[in-house]
């Protein structure tokens, strides 16, 4: 432990920074071991489990640069696919402060990252971790009665909350409703069933066999899981928008998070979407011109150069949405990518860090 702290202190010292400049010490140590970085949080995959045919569970060993998360929050996971870094937010299912981070990733039909992980994740693989965030967390003062409701891969943040409560010896009442399309698609079914002191109800919406509940969430499901919810009851719901809406309709004191699968089909022509220059707080309606011209028309003065896509002076980070490269015609919808704004036109809604 002492030597570890000492190594860390030495690596982060101004002298080492000078000696390893201008690249920095991480650019050398990562060549010895990819997770040996002091500035960037990374993790090594230590185990891979495929609990269901539509999900993959990764057990991650984070390096010391990772500063932790609160149960319910999400982490941006970065993997490299065909030379390109792809970043997606996932909520861990493991308890706060656990040694390993457990991520269960649900496969989307055309999801690049989820399918890649399902097919290629293996122990030893290294992934990036950053931007821990989200307000979907347990209150500091724990409620006495808690109902968790989740659908599909929305189970992970509430699983993390449940495991965190159990790890700290929570003595209140806990109920858990999880919806899946069929029994064999329900993640964490065995783990939940093995838990004592938690009322677990499964709802299978397509193949009913083995389902404890009929149909979609409503007053009956609520009554079966947590009768007479009162002021001391809190509900945590995570799943598709329809499920979260139903929970909000029938319960009070609800904390929820909903996820929408990424959109893969982008219209080919510019669509008059809304363009947000996030750093400047300016929003304009797309008029089909390159982003640089639209920014300038809005009174902004971003750095620019050749205006023909060769010098990269105008490169900015696109944080959301799709753009079309006006030279190659290629449409790119990756989140968190750098684009040359002089030759990129929006396709629908776009957020640019500018």
């Amino acid at each position: 432990m002492f030597t570890e702290t000492l190594t860390r202190r030495v690596l982060r010292s101004p002298l080492v920074d000078l000696l390893t400049g201008p690249h920095g010490v991480d650019r050398y140590t990562e060549l010895v071991a990819p997770t040996w970085t002091t500035g960037e949080a990374r993790a090594k995959v230590v185990a891979v489990r495929r609990q269901t045919r539509r999900s993959v569970t990764l057990i991650l060993e984070p390096n010391r640069a990772f500063t932790g998360f609160r149960a319910g929050q999400h982490i941006n996971l970065t993997v490299e696919i065909d030379g390109r870094r792809r970043t997606r937010p996932y909520s861990p299912a493991s308890a706060e402060g656990a040694l390993h981070i457990e991520l269960t990733v649900g496969r989307h039909d055309r999801g690049l990252v989820s399918n890649y992980l399902y097919e290629h994740a293996r122990p030893g693989m290294v992934v990036g971790l950053d931007s821990v965030g989200g307000d979907f967390v347990l209150p500091e003062r724990r409620p006495r009665r808690i109902l968790f409701v989740s659908g599909g891969s929305g189970i992970t943040p509430v699983m993390s909350m449940l495991r965190t409560l159990r790890a700290e010896g929570f003595t209140g009442e806990v109920a858990f409703i999880h919806y899946a399309r069929a029994a064999e698609e329900a993640c964490y079914r065995d783990q939940l069933d093995a838990m004592t002191g938690v009322k677990v109800l499964h709802g299978y919406t397509r193949v009913r066999a083995g389902s404890d509940l009929d149909g979609r969430f409503g007053p009956e499901h609520l009554a079966a899981a947590m009768p007479d919810p009162g002021d001391d009851t809190a509900v945590f719901a995570c799943g598709p928008p329809a499920l979260v809406e139903a929970v909000r309709e029938h319960c009070v004191n609800v904390c929820s998070e909903s996820f929408v699968p990424p959109i893969f089909d982008v219209p080919v022509e510019a669509s008059g979407g809304s363009v947000t220059f996030a750093d400047s707080g300016v929003e304009v309606t797309d008029d089909g011109r390159p982003l640089l011209e639209q920014a300038e028309a809005a009174g902004l003065t971003p750095e620019s150069g050749c205006r023909m896509g060769i010098c990269h002076s105008c490169t900015r980070r696109k944080t959301r949405g799709a753009v079309r490269n006006l030279i190659t015609g290629a449409v790119s919808s990756a989140e968190q990518e750098d684009v040359q704004i002089c030759v990129s036109a929006p396709v629908g809604d776009v957020d640019i860090a500018l």
Binding site: P22, L31, E80, G83, G305, C306, C311, T315, Q336
Partner: protein, 368 residues
């Protein structure tokens, strides 16, 4: 406010290259540009794992040479260690600046999304601050390549490298300035964005360049402290050997990068352009200018890596933001397109090309 500009009709561009007249009509330029655009699109669509592992392998080799070289220099009191250490450190700096730094800062690997090798984030092991380089090189030089009066790389504000630069008695010292620039190349590059020629001409004052100067100072200070203070002191009694090794490694890098870079645009028959000639230039004509204004070097695979693939200067100027190892792969195709449009493709071995550069430096010291 509406600004009305009158765009002159596109016209043909004619140049005399090696005694032969080369003409590009607007129609030809259109088709020429389309072919080159199609080539670029094909490469971009093919970028992937292969390019990522290429640059990572190069980075790994460079860092290994650097660590190994510096380690050997600590034992530099033994001549074989000193020689090997110095050579390794020199190679490391060459690779860092050429195949990694220059190319990464062009955005050749931006598609990877890796902040450590992104054009905006990368900093190289030389005195010149990366952000200043990105402006003076990627934008000014690559956009206005060889346009006299716009491309400050023609003579770098110190030398007379084109007949179209008016002769002054100052230029009698052309060969001396060129030699000094060679041995002090990293500082010459660092001072480039200061635009000393405009300060001397009284167009701007040093105060206008305060921020630039501060940037140069910050970077140069750290580089100097590292190579000439920190590493020698760490070696204790062996400090003089480490100091001398670092100095020599920097010198090797300076001379090598100077030679490669001067062979990019200054060999015989490379064309310059007037502002008039390039008004309302189309994309096809821009490609035409890039080719006429650049020259390649022939050599083996290792030579190309050490030159940062700037030995494919023509391909580099056509497509500065595709990974440089791809420039070698497409050179035959580019050459074929040039042949079909009657565009000369300037290439030759380093000694021959550099000899024509030296001749030019000496010749242009004199009026005419």
């Amino acid at each position: 406010m509406t600004v009305t500009t009158i765009t002159p009709a596109p016209k043909a561009l004619q140049k005399t290259v090696g005694g032969k007249t080369v003409t590009m009509t607007p129609e030809q330029a259109e088709a020429f540009g389309r072919e080159l655009d199609a080539l670029k699109e094909r490469i971009i669509a093919d970028l992937g794992e292969r390019d990522a592992s290429y640059i990572r392998r190069i980075i790994k080799a460079q860092r290994a040479l650097e660590v190994g070289g510096r380690a050997l220099l600590f034992g530099g009191i033994f001549p074989p260690f000193w020689l090997a250490g110095t050579a390794m450190l020199g190679l490391s700096k060459i690779i860092d600046n050429m195949e990694i730094g220059h190319n990464v800062m062009h955005g050749q690997y931006d598609w990877m999304g890796d902040p450590a090798i992104s054009s905006r984030g990368f900093e190289w092991d030389t005195a010149c601050p990366g952000d200043q380089w990105r402006h003076s090189h990627n934008y000014m030089h690559h956009t206005y390549t060889n346009i006299v009066g716009m491309d400050r790389d023609i003579g770098y504000g110190i030398l007379r490298m084109s007949k179209d630069q008016r002769w002054r008695p100052y230029f009698l010292g052309n060969p001396i300035y060129a030699f000094l620039l060679m041995v002090l190349f990293q500082y010459g590059v660092a001072l480039h964005e200061l635009e000393t020629e405009r300060i001397r001409a009284g167009e701007i004052t040093l105060a206008d360049k305060r921020e630039i100067l501060e940037g140069i100072w910050r970077k140069t200070k750290r580089q100097t402290l590292k190579d000439y203070v920190a590493f020698p002191l760490l070696a204790g009694p062996f400090a003089p050997w480490v100091f001398a090794g670092n100095l020599t490694a920097n010198l090797i890098r300076n001379i090598w990068s100077y030679m490669i870079i001067f062979c990019g645009h200054f060999p015989e028959d490379v064309q310059e352009f007037s502002i008039e000639e390039t008004k309302a230039e189309t994309r096809g004509m821009w490609y035409f200018r890039q080719i006429l204004g650049s020259a390649n070097l022939t050599g083996g695979k290792l030579f190309h890596i050490l030159s940062g693939n700037l030995s494919f200067q023509i391909e580099h100027h056509l497509f500065p933001d595709i990974p440089a190892h791809r420039h070698a792969e497409i050179s035959e195709e580019v050459r074929d397109i040039c042949r079909r449009y009657g565009v000369p493709y300037n290439t030759g071995p380093l000694p021959k090309q550099f000899a024509t550069v030296v001749r030019k430096i000496v010749k242009l010291a004199l009026p005419g």
